[in-house]
Amino acid sequence: MTTCFRVNSPNVIHETIEGEVILIDLKTGTYYSLRETGAAIWEAIDRGAGLDEIEGALELRYDGSPDEMREAVRKLVGELEREGLIRAEQVDGAPTAGQPVFELHGTRQPFEAPSLEKHTDMQDLILLDPVHEVSAQGWPHPAPSDEASG
């Protein structure tokens, strides 16, 4: 068994645009962005890669010390897990068996540690005006447990 990572769908949605990843957590209203090496790591996670594959692929794409890359990958993956954006899964065999983790894009770029930019301005909207999905058996209305909890 090996460990791979999965995007926490359906609560997490993401798009990559001009090399930058925009991630939105639909449950919390928090949104994030990842650039450069962070976007490359996300691309690998989106393909279901494990830690070793992400690190190996970064080494193909970026010029830097393997130790530095390993530490950076582990740090970002941990942060993504803590934010609830991804989850670890145990799979049989190689995590992304049969699919390429990265394509090589020309010359290797200097490696810079990734950073996860976090934006919480939408949380106010959600906290002030939350919308609760309720059963279809009647008017959409707070359930007794909601009312009791105030």
Binding site: I17, I24, L125, L128, H132, E133, W139, A143
Partner: protein, 346 residues
């Protein structure tokens, strides 16, 4: 943010029961007042039960009124008088006279989707076919400004979604040949930029907060509301708006305007992110697609319900199709229209 909930109070609303409530209210109010509109190039009919509800909510659509003979693609039934038999239970929030903000409750059932906003006690129901809707409020003259300046936001967003459009959080101004979508958080200068466009007769106003955007290969902006809102302290920078100040505008947090000369829409040429700076004159500089998507998508997705998962991909597609600019706003508001026109001529 959804929580699991069970055993909702009140009987399930039947569409026939709702409609009977509307018809009864219309008879009691002297008959239905039909407002025929053209929204996103489609015929729409809003049926108000009586003149009072029509008077309160009609001004936001003044620029879209049309002599339509085609059968409407959407008919909304709107009333406020007596509490309908088919209404959801009145909540403690409404009894406490809450200001209109607070939790909302959404559900989908066979044949319809419904949203109840207990603090303002309004409810919205749309058929699954998105061709008929019902909107009830306790008092049309007592809605908060964000509701009477942009009525039926949820109903229109669900309908637009079914018609292949996206209801987005943004303003828009332009010419008949093309215009810009103004996106950004509150306080970024969207309304100032949109309302400054009224200083130049070549520019047409399409909204300061919500518009619809077509998702085809040639994206277009469709205006929804001709209302505009500014903080009273900003009025001194926009003195040309005084003539447009809405009659009887209650002492709200914001001054409200209705721009009857607003356009129904235009082709989308660019996405503009206004930014308040200490410059004197406004200046547009190239922006990134990622910045445009981050400014447009989260606030669009979370302003309405349910949050549409597919909206992010649709908006990314839109952002890829037109250029993005950052509009650095200066202290001289009068320089904004010329800079927008220069950008549109590029």
């Amino acid at each position: 943010m959804s929580r699991a909930a069970t055993a909702p109070a009140g009987p399930a609303p039947t569409l026939a029961g709702l409609h009977a409530d509307f018809e009864r209210a219309a008879r009691g109010a002297g008959g239905a007042v039909d407002l025929r509109l053209r929204i996103a190039a489609r015929p729409v009919c809003i049926r108000f039960a009586g003149q009072a509800a029509a008077k309160a909510l009609r001004p936001a659509f003044a620029h879209l009124e049309a002599q339509e003979t085609e059968p409407p693609a959407l008919t909304l039934h709107v009333w406020d008088s007596e509490r309908p038999a088919a209404a959801p239970p009145r909540s403690a929030e409404a009894d406490a006279g809450a200001a209109g903000t607070g939790p909302s409750y959404y559900s989908e059932s066979d044949g319809s989707r419904a949203l109840h906003q207990p603090a303002s006690d309004v409810f919205s129901v749309l058929t699954t076919e998105a061709d008929r809707g019902w909107f009830w409020m306790p008092d049309a003259t007592a809605l908060p400004y964000w509701d009477y300046t942009a009525p039926f936001r949820h109903l229109l967003s669900w309908w637009l979604d079914a018609e292949g459009f996206r209801h987005v959080h943004g303003g828009a101004v332009g010419t008949a040949e093309g215009g810009v979508l103004l996106v950004g958080p509150g306080g970024s200068g969207k309304s100032t930029t949109a309302l400054a466009s009224l200083l130049d007769e070549r520019l047409r106003y399409a909204g300061d907060d919500y518009v619809a955007v077509g998702s085809g290969p040639a994206p277009a902006v469709h205006s929804l509301y001709c209302s505009g809102k500014v903080h009273p302290e900003d009025l001194s920078r926009l003195p040309h708006l005084e003539a447009l100040l809405a009659d009887g505008n209650p002492a709200d947090e914001k001054a409200v305007f209705y721009v009857e000369s607003a356009t129904a829409g235009f082709p989308l040429r660019a996405i503009v992110l206004p930014r308040v700076t200490d410059r004197r004159a406004a200046r547009a500089i190239p922006g990134t697609q990622a910045a445009a998507l981050a400014a447009l998508a989260p606030s669009t997705i979370f302003q309405l319900h349910p949050p549409a998962r597919e909206a992010l991909a649709q908006m990314a597609q839109l952002v890829r199709r037109v250029p993005t600019y950052v509009l650095e706003l200066g202290t001289d508001v009068e320089t904004i229209p010329a800079e927008l026109l220069r950008l549109l001529e590029q």
